[in-house]
Symmetry: C2
Subunit: 211 residues, 2 copies
Amino acid sequence: MQIKKSLPEAVVRRLPGYHRYLCDLCRLGTRRISSQELAKLMGLTASQIRQDFNSFGGVGQQGYGYNTDELRDRIAELLGLGRSFSLILVGAGNIGQALIKYAHFAELGLHIVAAFDTSPRVVEQNIGGIVVKPIEELTAHLAHGGVDIAIVAVPAPVAQDTANLLIDAGITALWNFAPVDLQVPPHVHVVNVHMLDSLLVLLFRMNAAEK
Amino acid sequence: MQIKKSLPEAVVRRLPGYHRYLCDLCRLGTRRISSQELAKLMGLTASQIRQDFNSFGGVGQQGYGYNTDELRDRIAELLGLGRSFSLILVGAGNIGQALIKYAHFAELGLHIVAAFDTSPRVVEQNIGGIVVKPIEELTAHLAHGGVDIAIVAVPAPVAQDTANLLIDAGITALWNFAPVDLQVPPHVHVVNVHMLDSLLVLLFRMNAAEK
DNA sequence: TACTGTATGTGAACTTTTTAACAATTGATT
DNA sequence: AATCAATTGTTAAAAAGTTCACATACAGTA
């Protein structure tokens, strides 16, 4: 069985979920799990899980199942979780501040190392141990390198400008919370967290169910 | 629960994005738009957009394009945005507090009407105009009815219990921020906002691009 | 060692989603 | 009024994703 160079998009989207569940299982001391059990746990089908795991090289043992540790490590490796990552935050408003204080980054080796904002109301404030700096210092700060990802948590109207600024300063990965689809050059990776969009999907389902 | 006219799942996922863009366009005074233009704006293909819009009844005019107002209204109707919605928040931690203060709910007719927590540190505190109540009062509060959606923003270990409590109290729609896939009966709608999952997808892409 | 039950790996069928192509319709122009 | 250009609605093909079915290989047992 050949390991495919690029994983199907659908599998990639499920990878974090697998990782999460496998970490939980390991923590609980479960040493092995079958596609059947995992399927039930995650609300997928056993077949799908086997297909997925097979797409990055069979890690299972016939008649036995999957070794949780091994599988978790394999997925962590695919995700590139082997090392520590540095993030900066741009926009220390409500969401930005919540992200700084969010506890679960560290478990994955993710660290917010600096925060920037334009508003005098937050600049120089200490939020969860990080002193917010004026946006003017951003480019200089990034010049030193060593930052892997920028979190865009600014208001929608300035999100694109912020992205441009970051990209010009050498950032190639954006985690975007603004309800805008950023235009970026091909070498820049973006993932969006459009929370309201998901809420609207919920509304749609509620609405559809009533009929 | 019977589905009214079941749109393809892929279309449903794009509906909020369409709505967002059409609102923007209307606000800017744009009266018409072609699938071509919208495609460029949203990073989709024109063909896909025409397919999507066609799946809920052609709203366009050949040789002309789509009327932005009309299209926006049609999509808002599909999403069930005609009326006001009441939400309650369970878990007034970092994320919960940020959500209370989040400005863009009101634009869509969404209103957080109450917040609950267990911690004495936040209970009775006024956050963004809402006084957090102890979780014990939740069931009584819901007995009055009139709440459409519950936001689950509690720590992962208690998320399932919280969901159970809400469902027992009659809630049928959960907007879940805990990194857990909630087990719910079929009549309950859930959408997850697994933020870290999306960050891991970003990591994967960065990692994959390096190869 | 041989046997049995279990659960994977895998090819194929099936479904959903996306892309492509083009005829049909309409607004604008002369 | 007739023609042209633009852009949809629609059908067909391709690609991606999911489910099914089962031979195969392994763990556990005696």
